[in-house]
Symmetry: C2
């Protein structure tokens, strides 16, 4: 039976996936939808309604992370550096937001002094792994298919 908790604040939520990750995914989906050519940051920004300058930073990270390739100069742009099925959500989240973790041990004041035998710690790790496992199963290909099936929600052309 669930205990009812009343939140005074309206719809406050703590979201695990932040905006930079969301932008990243939309950009990756866009690239996946336009294979075989270099797509400029400007085009992606326009189509996906992402601030261009911010998107450039994100694309730089994605480039360094090995998800996309970049071609400089006139007629340059970005392209997927991997097959869509080889890119998964966990990778993108961790690249953009850092490693996902429950938290450090929160019992004890200065960090837990008995981590090795802490049952709770093991629970955290298990949960972390379950979350990670789930996220790593969702690939860019899945996302692209979602977009293709639906009414072109990521559209713009």
């Amino acid at each position: 039976m669930w205990t009812i908790i009343v939140h005074k604040e309206d719809g406050v939520t703590m979201e695990i996936i932040r905006r930079n990750t969301e932008y990243s995914i939309r950009a990756l989906v866009h690239l996946a939808l336009h294979p075989g050519r270099d797509v400029t940051a400007a085009e992606i920004a326009e189509a996906q309604e992402i601030p261009l300058e911010y998107l450039q930073k994100i694309l730089q990270k994605l480039t360094r992370g090995g998800f996309v390739g970049a071609q400089r100069g006139a007629r340059g742009g970005f392209y997927l550096a991997k097959d869509p099925e080889e890119i998964n959500l966990l990778q993108v989240i961790e690249l953009m937001q850092g490693k996902l973790a429950m938290n450090k041990c929160f019992l004890g004041k200065n960090g837990c002094n008995r981590a090795p035998k802490c049952v709770l710690k093991n629970n955290w790790l298990q949960l972390e792994q379950r979350i990670a496992g789930f996220l790593s199963q969702i690939t860019l290909l899945d996302l692209v298919e979602q977009v293709r099936e639906g009414g072109r929600p990521g559209g713009g052309e």
Copy 2:
């Protein structure tokens, strides 16, 4: 096979449980360890090394949330308003941080326009529920037992 992702930033992590929740839990554990009397905010702050003024805010939230009771005036203080096994982690997290969510649908620009039939959305919801289910299974009693078994890591007396 795992793809290796190199993070340039050192140990950057995005933690799900934030400090206010951690403080909350430490406070609740402290109360559970000292049943049958009113414990002042000052005592908890001292024992758990939490800034007093901040802890007071947290205790107010916990009071409004129904987890602890408060007794004003001289010799007043706080006490658990529920049995430790009736308080679970999910409740505390959601009280302090708001409802846990993956995110709103991130495909599409202005929020997803086909949420009802979105497979991904369902995946999110499933994952959210798994996480929630897990967190709701961990009770304050479990945490207290952890502390009792270990070398009094939350100690102070």
